[in-house]
Amino acid sequence: MDLTTLAFFFFAALTLGFGAVVVLSRNIMHAAFSLLFTFFGVAGLYVLLHADFLAITQIMIYIGGILVLIIFGVMLTTRITGVDVKSGRTGKLQLGLTAALSVALAAVLVKIFLSTLWHIAPAADVDATAELIGNALLTKYLIAFEAASILLLVAIVGAAFIARKK
C-alpha cells in the first residue's frame, strides 16, 4: 500500500463521505459545507490523476465560485434564522424508492464498469498539463473555447437579467 493508494482512498473517502452528507443532511448549510469537502476530495483525485491544472481549476472555480454562489443562493432563498434552513425531504415512500433506485443505479454502474473491458492506454506522465491544455484550447478546441466563452457571457448576462429586481 503505497502513498498514492492511500491518498486515493483518502480522497475517495473524502469525496464519497461528504457527498453522502451533502445528499443526506437535513440542514442545507451543512450540505453546502459538506459539498466543499467533496469538491476538495475530487480535486485531490485530479491530482492523483496527474491533472494538476484541473485540480487547481476545480478548487478555484468550484470551491471559489460555484460553491460561494450556492451558499449565496441558500442564504437568499431561505430565512436564515428559522428552522427553515433545514431542507425538507420528500415522503418516506419516495425516499425509499429513490434510495433504492440510486443504489440500483450505483450497483449497475459499478457492475458495468467492472464488467467492461476498457481499452487501457496509460498516458505518459506529464509534469504540467497547463501548457498542453492552453495549446489545445487555442488550436484544436478554439471554436469550442470561443463558444464556451460566449456561453459564459450569455449566462452571466442572462443570470443578471433574470435575477434583477423587477
Binding site: 420528500t90 433506485l101 440500483a104 443505479l105 449497475v108 458495468i112
Partner: protein
Amino acid sequence: MIEFEIMTHEKILLLSLSVLLIPMVSFLVNVFFGRKLGKISGWIGTTILAIDLVIAAVVSYSKLVIYPDIQVIQTKFEWFSLGSSSFNVGYGIDNIAAIMLMVVTVISFLVHLFSTIYMEGDRRFPTFFAYLGLFTFSMMGIVIANNFLVMYIFWELVGISSYLLIGFWYEKNSASNAGKKAFITNRIGDLGFFAGIMILFMTYGSFMFEDVFAGISSGKLPFDNPTMLTIAGICIFMGAMGKSAQWPLHVWLPDAMEGPTPVSALIHAATMVAAGVYLVAKVFVMFTADALTFIAIIGTITAFVSATIAITQTDFKKVLAYSTVSQLGFMVMSLGTGGYTNGFFHLVTHAWFKAALFLAAGSVIHAMHHAMHHLHDHHSDPQDINNMGGLRKSMPWTYFTFLFVTLALAGIPFTSGFLSKDGILANTLAWANLTGGWHWIVPVLAFSAAGMTAFYMFRLTIIAFHGKPKTEIAHHAKENQLPIVLPLVVLSVLTIWFFYSPNPIDATAGWFHHRVVQPETAVPAAYQWDFLISGDEGHTDALHADAGHAVAATQHAEVSAEVTSGSHYQNKLQEEVHHFHYIAMILSLLIAGSGIGLAFLIYQYKVISADKLEARFRKLHTFSLNKWYFDELYEKTVIGGTLLASKGLALFDNYIIDGIVNLSAAINRVAGQVIGIFDNVVIDGAVNLTANLTGYMGGMLKKLQTGRVQSYVVFALLGLLILFFVFI
C-alpha cells in the same frame, strides 16, 4: 256669340276635356292654398265652376244642336301597353253625356254658390270646396267616359269624394261611420262591376264600349255561353246598384245624409246616385232580356220599399233620402222594362227637382240652425220635422219653391216630373202587357210607390211648412240670403214642363225624346226581347232567354223578314207605350191625387187622426219606421258574419297557425331536449366512455405526471435501468 259652324269634333273633344279638368284646378288650388285663401276659396271654387258651366254649355249645345245625329264624338289613346295588349283610355260625348254634362255642371255650380253661405264659418271651409271640386271632376269623368276602365276609375274616385264629403264633419262618429258605410257598400257593388269588366275584357280584349258592343253583336259570347252575357250584364249592373243605392245595397244613402246638406243635394240626390242609372243607360245595349228583367225587378223593389219607409220618417233629410232611393228605383225600373228614354228623362228631371228639394231642406236647416243659435239651444234636432211647422210664412221663397218641386215629384201635370214619371208608368204597363204573367207585379208596385210618393211628400210639406210653428225655434226661423235662395229658384224654374216638351202631358213631342233615342240593342236577337228590336212589330210574343232560343231565333228571323216596318215607332214596346199612355196618365193622376188628398186629410185638416192610424197599424208603422230592419239585418248577417269570420280567422292565425309554428318550435325544443338527453346519456355516454377510459388511463398516467422534475428524472432513471437490464 260663338261660331258654332266651326265647332269641329276636335274642338268639342278638347272643350269636354277641359270641362273635365277645370274642377280639378279648384281642387288643387283649395287643397294647397286653401288655408291662405280662407273665405275667398269658396268664391274661387264657384267662379271656376261657373267657367266650367259655360264651357259645358258650349259642348252640350254643339253636340245636341249641331251634331245630334252622330252617335258619339269620341277619341281614345293608349294609356299604357304591355307588349301585345294595350290599355286604351278615351272619352266621348254622346247625347246623354251632353245632357248629363249640363245637369252636373249646373247643379254643381248652384251648390257651390249655395255653400258659400251655408258652410260659412266652418273651420274647413276651403277643404269643403276642394272636395266639391274633386267630386265634380270625378263625376265629369263618369259622364264623358267611353270605356269601362275609365268609367271604373272615375266610379271609384266619385266614391272616394263621396266618402270624404259624407265624413266631412269627421269629429262626429256618425258622420265618419256613414262615410265608411257608403264607401264599403259601394265597393261591394264595384266588386261586381269589376268582375263584369273582367269578363268583358277577357272576351272582347278591349275596354271600349264600342268594341265590346261590336263584339257582342258579332255573336261572340263570354265563355261561349249566353248566360255568361247575362251574368256580365248583371255584374255591371251591380256597380249601378251600389252607386244608385238600389235594394239591397240601398242602406248607405240615408246614412249619407250625415254629410253637409249641399253635399246631399249635389251628390246624394242629383248626380252621383244617378251615375248608376247613367251607367245602365250607357251600356243599355249589352243587357240581355234576363238581365233587363233582373234590373227591372231590383228597381221595382227599391222604388216600393223605400217609398214605404219614407212615409214614417221624421227627419227632414231622411224623408228626402228615401224618396231619392225610391225615385232611383223608378229610373232603374224604367230602364229594366226597356224604357231607355223615359228612365234617362226621369234622371234629368229628378236631378233638378231633387236638388231643389235638398237645397230647400238645407235652407230650412240653415234657418233652424240660426234660430237655435239665436235661442242658445244646442240640443234640439234642427232636422226633425216635428220641430218645424209654419215655416210657410217666415220662409216664403223656400216654401214656394219647395212646394212647386214637390208637385213635380208627386207627378202633377205642368211639371217635368209629371212628364217623366208618367212615361215610366206607361212603360211598365206596356212591358207587363207584352211579357205578361207575374211581371204585372212591376206596374202594380210602381203605381203604389207613385201614390206613396205623393203622400209622403205632402206629409212632409204640411208638417214642416203649414200650420203653426211647433217650437220656438221654428218661430224664429228666417228666410236666407240670396246665394241660398237663388239656386232654389233656378232649379224650380227648370222643373217647368216647358223646357222639355211643348205639350205638358206628352213628353214624346219634346226635344228630349228626339235627342235621347234608345240605341239599337247589341245582344243577339235570341237573347233579347223581341219588342226591343226595331222593325219587329209583328212579333209580340215575349221571348225568354232559355233553351228554346235557337229555334225561336230562326223563327224570329223569318218573321222579321216578312214584316214590313211601316210604323213610326222605333219598336213594338214604344208602340205599346203609346197605347198605354193615357191609361197610365189617368191612373197616375188618380193615385197621386188621392195620395195628396190623404196627406191633407190627415195632416192639414186632421180629419183622420195620424195617431190613431199609427196605433191601428202599429206593426206596419214600426216596420217602416225602422226601415224594414235592413240595417239590423245586415249588421247581423253580412257585417256580423264578416267580422265574425275575420275575428275567427285572426284568432285562427294567432292561435292555430302561429300556434302550429310555436308548437313545432316547442316540439323541436322538446325533441331537442330529448335528443339532448339521448346525446348526453347515450351518444355522449359512448364518447365519454371512450374519453373517460382514455381519461382514466390518462389520469392514472397523470399521477406520474406530477409536474415535478424530480419524478421525471425518477422515471428516466427507471427506464434507463430497465434498458440496462434488458440489454446488458
